[in-house]
Symmetry: C2
C-alpha cells in the first residue's frame, strides 16, 4: 500500500524563509492568517489528506465510479463519507467569500493545501477543485440573483460545480461548439446538446450539482464570438432555496479512461435543460476564462502533487529494498545485499524528481501568493505586477509541472522495478492519474502557444520584461555573496539562454508564425528551467542565511545539495532547448500532410 506524508514543514519554510511571509501582512485576508494559523491549517489539512483521503486512493481507482441503470452515478466506497467530512471541516470554503459562508482565508493557503489533498487522492480532490472554479466564475460574472441562489451552498461545498466545454468534435477550438440555447418566456434558456469529458459531471456526493455550460444562443454569430455561458443545475432550485424538480440533463455514460477512476468523467446530455445566462450574451468565453485560469493553476498543482507522492514511495522503497551491492563496496555487509539507494542511478532518478518537486512547490506558492496580491494589494503597481506574473507563469507551470510531474511518476515507478508495474504498489496509478493533467484545461501544446503567442507580446512584453528583471535583479543583488555564487552561475547561464530564445522569437516569430509554434514547447520548458532554477537560488540563499544564523538543520542543509544537483543535472537541458528553438520551423513544416 502506498504511503503519503504532507510536506508541511517544507511549505512553511518556503513561506517564511524564501517568500518572507511577513511582507504580505498588509493584505486584508492575511489579517486572520498569521503564520501560526497557516501552520495549524496546513497541519490539520495535511492530516486529513493523509488519514482520510489517501487510504481511499487505491481502492477508489480499483472500484471506479458506476452509472446505474437509472442514470445516477455512484462514487467509490468511502468517497461520500470523506466528502461529507471535508465539507463539514470547512475545507471547501477555506478561501471562499465570507458573505457566502466561506472562511475568507488567503488564496495561497487553499493552493498550498490542495497539493496535499491531490497528492493523497487526485480523483477525490477534483470534486471540490471544480466546485471552487465554478464558484469563482459565478462570483465574477453572475448577477446577484444567481449568486444568491447558488453561491452559499457551492462555497461550502454542499453543492458541487462543473465546467461543460468540450463536445465530441471540439475541445481546444470552442468556436465550433454546437450546444444551443433557446430563450424561454421566463427569461431562462432551454439548453440542448452533448458535452463530453465532464469531470465530476454526476455523482452521489452532493444533493445538487451546478453546471456551467457553454452554448450558442439561437441566432448568435458563428465562432467564438457567439458562445455564451449558462448556469444549469442538476436539480432546479426554488426561490426559497429548496430543491425542486430535476432538470432535463444527465450523465449519458461514464468514460472508460486511463486513470482518475474515482472521478466520474461523464458524457452529459442536455435535453432542453433549464439554464440561466451568466454574464453577457456571446461573451461566454471571457467568463469561462476566470474559471480556466484558476483551473490551470489547479492542474499545475496536480503535477507537483503526483510527483511528490510518487517520490515519497519510491524513496521509501529504495531505502528498504535489498538488492546487489554498492559499486564502491558493500554498504550493509551484515545484510544479504545493500539497499538500492546506494546506487548512483537510483539516486539520479530520485533526485531528478525531488529537485523538481521542491522548486516547483516554491514556484507554485509564488504564483499563489501573487494571486492574493493581485486581488488585494493596496498598491496599484503591485497588483498589476502580480497580475502580470500570474498571466505569464500560468501556462508555464501548467505545461511544465504536468509534463515533468508525469515523467517523474514514471521515474518513481521505475525505481520499484517490476513491482512498479503491479497495481497493489500504487505506483502505476500515480502514472495513470498524472497523465490526464498534461491534457485537460488546455493540452500542454496549447499552454506553450498561449505563452509564446499571447503572454510574451502582451502589453508590449511588460510581463516578460518584469520577470527577467526579477531574476537578473536577484542575481545582481547577490553577486558579491561568495557562498551563494556556485548556486547562481548556472542560473545566470540558463537565464541568458532564455533571453536569447526570447530574442529569437521576437525576430523570427513575427515574420513566420510557424517559427513561434515550432519553438513553443521548447521555449516553455526552457522557461520552466529558469523559473525553477531561480527558485533554487532563492532557496539556497534562505538556507545559507539559516546556516549563518545557526538555525539550520539537516533537512535544510540537504537542500543545498538538491540545488547543486538541479544546476548540474537539470539546467544543462537549457542549451538543447535553445538549439532546437533556433533550428526554426523548416524541418517541421517541409513535409506534406500526406507524408505523415
Amino acid at each position: 500500500m502506498p504511503v503519503y506524508k504532507a510536506p508541511v514543514s517544507d511549505t512553511l519554510f518556503l513561506l517564511t524563509d524564501v517568500f518572507d511571509f511577513q511582507r504580505y501582512s498588509n493584505l486584508p485576508r492575511f489579517a486572520d492568517a498569521p503564520i501560526d494559523v497557516v501552520e495549524a491549517v496546513l497541519t490539520e489539512g495535511g492530516k486529513f489528506a493523509e488519514e482520510v483521503l489517501q487510504p481511499l486512493n487505491l481502492s477508489g481507482d480499483k472500484e471506479g465510479c458506476e452509472r446505474r441503470s437509472d442514470g445516477s452515478v455512484v462514487t467509490p466506497t468511502g468517497f461520500k463519507q470523506a466528502y461529507k467530512a471535508y465539507v463539514d471541516g470547512g475545507w471547501v470554503g477555506l478561501a471562499g467569500a465570507t458573505e457566502y459562508g466561506g472562511q475568507g482565508l488567503p488564496h495561497f493557503l487553499s493552493v498550498a493545501l490542495s497539493e496535499y489533498t491531490i497528492a493523497a487522492n487526485q480523483a477525490f480532490a477534483m470534486y471540490p477543485g471544480l466546485t471552487n472554479g465554478a464558484t469563482a466564475a459565478l462570483m465574477v460574472h453572475a448577477d446577484d440573483a444567481i449568486k444568491a441562489r447558488y453561491l452559499p451552498k457551492m462555497t461550502t461545498g454542499e453543492w458541487t460545480g462543473t465546467m461543460n466545454l468540450t463536445e465530441p468534435h471540439c475541445g481546444t477550438d470552442l468556436g465550433l461548439i454546437k450546444t444551443r440555447a433557446t430563450r424561454n418566456e421566463d427569461g431562462s434558456f432551454a439548453i440542448s446538446g452533448q458535452k463530453i469529458f465532464i469531470s465530476a459531471g454526476d455523482h452521489d456526493l452532493a444533493d445538487n450539482i451546478i453546471h456551467l455550460v457553454l452554448a450558442r444562443i439561437e441566432g448568435a454569430p458563428a465562432g467564438v464570438k457567439g458562445i455564451s455561458l449558462f448556469v444549469a443545475p442538476k436539480v432546479l432550485v426554488n426561490d426559497d432555496g429548496s430543491l425542486g424538480a430535476p432538470n432535463t440533463l444527465g450523465c449519458g455514460s461514464i468514460e472508460h479512461k486511463m486513470g482518475i477512476h474515482g472521478n466520474a468523467t461523464c458524457v452529459m446530455n442536455y435535453d432542453g435543460a433549464k439554464g440561466w445566462l451568466v454574464g453577457e450574451e456571446n461573451r461566454g468565453l471571457n467568463a469561462m476564462f476566470v474559471m480556466m485560469n484558476g483551473a490551470r493553476l489547479g492542474v499545475a498543482v496536480q503535477g507537483v502533487a503526483q510527483s511528490e507522492v510518487a517520490y515519497q514511495n519510491a524513496a521509501a522503497y529504495a531505502k528498504d529494498r535489498l538488492q546487489g551491492r554498492s559499486l564502491s563496496g558493500a554498504k550493509a555487509p551484515e545484510k544479504s545485499a545493500d539497499p538500492i539507494i546506494v546506487h548512483p542511478d537510483v539516486r539520479r532518478m530520485l533526485l531528478e524528481i525531488r529537485s523538481f518537486n521542491e522548486a516547483a512547490r516554491a514556484l507554485m506558492l509564488w504564483v499563489a501568493l501573487s494571486e492574493d496580491e493581485a486581488l488585494e494589494s493596496p498598491d496599484t503597481a503591485a497588483r498589476q505586477a502580480a497580475d502580470d506574473r500570474i498571466g505569464l507563469l500560468t501556462p508555464v507551470i501548467k505545461g511544465v509541472f504536468t509534463d515533468v510531474g508525469f515523467a517523474n511518476c514514471v521515474k518513481a515507478q521505475q525505481v520499484l522495478g517490476g513491482h512498479g508495474y503491479i497495481a497493489e504498489w500504487g505506483m502505476e496509478q500515480f502514472v495513470r492519474d498524472a497523465r490526464i493533467a498534461m491534457i485537460y484545461e488546455g493540452a500542454n501544446g496549447i499552454q506553450a502557444l498561449d505563452l509564446v503567442g499571447r503572454k510574451l507580446p502582451k502589453d508590449g512584453g511588460r510581463a516578460i520584461t518584469a520577470f527577467f528583471g526579477e531574476v537578473s535583479g536577484f542575481l545582481n543583488e547577490n553577486k558579491e555573496d561568495a557562498a551563494l555564487a556556485p548556486y547562481l552561475a548556472p542560473v545566470k547561464t540558463a537565464l541568458g539562454q532564455l533571453q536569447q530564445a526570447t530574442m529569437w522569437l521576437m525576430q523570427n516569430g513575427m515574420k513566420n508564425p510557424d517559427n513561434a509554434g515550432a519553438a513553443s514547447t521548447d521555449y516553455m520548458h526552457l522557461f520552466g528551467l529558469v523559473a525553477l532554477g531561480f527558485m533554487w537560488a532563492r532557496i539556497a540563499k534562505a538556507v545559507l542565511a539559516r546556516q549563518a544564523a545557526g538555525t539550520s538543520n539537516e533537512a535544510l542543509d540537504s537542500k543545498l545539495w538538491l540545488a547543486r544537483f538541479f544546476n548540474a543535472r537539470m539546467l544543462p537541458e537549457g542549451g538543447a532547448h535553445l538549439q532546437r528553438i533556433a533550428s526554426g520551423a523548416e524541418t517541421l513544416m517541409a513535409l506534406s500532410a500526406a507524408a505523415f
Copy 2:
C-alpha cells in the same frame, strides 16, 4: 478502434538499400531467403498481424487473462484461435532449427517480423517470443535427451516456453534466489519455491508449457555461483513423447498490472516439481544469458513496435481532426477548421516519434543481421566483429528503444488530446503496454550499467573501438559528398561528444565507480543518439543514391526531411548528456540515505 499497417516497404528499403542485403548471401540460411522470399514472408506476416492479431489487441486488454478456481488460466477471447493459426502458419518456427521442425530462415527475418506482431498485439506476441527464447537456451545448453523431448514441439510452438527467474525478494540480484532443487533418485530434481512476474506462466494456448527455472541445488555455494538452470514442464512428458501426469507446479495467481493484460503474468508455485538440469550445475546464469540476450533484443523491438503503432494512430488522427486554424492562415478554408496536422507543435510530436522509429528500425535490423553473421559467417573476424557489435548494442537498444518508445507512446497519446485518455481509442493501452519494456529483462538502469561497466571495458574496449571506427569510417568515406554533407556534420558532432564521454568514463570511472554509475543512463542515451544518427546518415545516403539513379519516390524523399529533423531536433540532446556525465557523482552521492 486503433489501426495498424505493417511498414513492409520501409523494412525492405532498409534491407536492400541501406544494408546491402546481397552481401549476406554467403550465409547458409540466406540461401533459401532471397529478397523476394523475404518480401513474401514480411508481407504475409504483416497481413497476419494486421488482420488477425491487431483486432484482438483492445479486446484482449479489456478482457485480460483469468485464473479459474481450478488453477487453470484462460486467455482473452480469440487468443486461442489466433495462436493456433499462428502455429499452423509456421510463424513460431520461422527461424527455428530445421532438425526440430523449424523453417531455418535467417534470424533477422524473425526479428523484422516480430516488430509487426508486437505492434499489432504485444501481449499476444509475448507467448511465441518467450517460447523462442526458451528454445534458444535449450538448443545451446541442454543435452540431447532434453532436446529430443522438448524441442520439436517448442520449435513449432505447439508447446510454449517461459523463463522463471524473479522471486519476491529478488529480480536484478539473482544471487539471492531461494528456490531449491533436491536430487531425485532417477537423476531428476525436485524443485520447490515461488517465482513471480512470470510472463506467459500459464494459459490455454498450448497443451504444455516448458518452464526454464533458476534454482539452487542443495549444498550449492551461496550467491550467483550456486544457481542452476532446470527445465520443468507443466505436464510431464513420457518417453514416447506423449503427455503424462501434471507436474506439481502451477499458477498461484495472476498479477494485477498496468498493461499487457492479454498476457498472463503469473505467480508460479513449485511444490517439489520434477525438473531436469540444463547445462552444468551451478552454471545456470550462464545458460540463462543466452535466453536473456535474445530476450533483450526482443524487448528492444517492443519499444520500436509500440512507438510505430502509436505513431500511425496519432498521425491518422492529426490528419483527420478539424480544430482551429493554421498560424499562417487557413489551410482548409472550405471546412469548419483545419486538420491539426497544420500546427507545428503537433508535427513536432509526430516527427519526434517518426524520426526515432525509422532509425530505430534500421538499428534493430543491423543488430539482427549481425546475429546471423555471428552465427554463420565463414569468416572468423566477421563473426567476432558481429558478436562484439551485438554485445555492445544490446543494452543500448534495450534501454534506449524502450525509454524512447514509451515516451513516444505518451507523445502520440497527447496528439489525441482528451481522446487519448479514453480507452476505446487505444492510445492509452499503447502507453500502458509499452511501459513494461523499460522494466523487464533487466530494468533500463541495469542496461546502462551493463554498457558502461561490462561492455565498454570488455576485451580491452574492442567493441567500442570498432563501433567508433565504423561510424567515423562512414563519415570519412563520404566527406567529399556535398549532397550528403548536411546529414553528416551533426552526427560528427554527436560522435565527438560520445568519444569525449567515453574518455571521461575511462579517466573517472576507474578511480571512482560511482562516477560510472552516475553517468551510465546519460551515456546510454548519448550512445543511442549517435547510433540512431549514424542510421539516419546511412539512410540519407541510400535515398540520395536512389535520387541520383532516378528511382526514388515521394516516400523515400521524405526520409531526407526526417533525417534533417532528427539532426536539428534530437541530436542537440547530446550536449546536455555530456554536461551531465561530466558533472560526476558528487551531487548524487553527497546526501545520506536518510535524507531521501
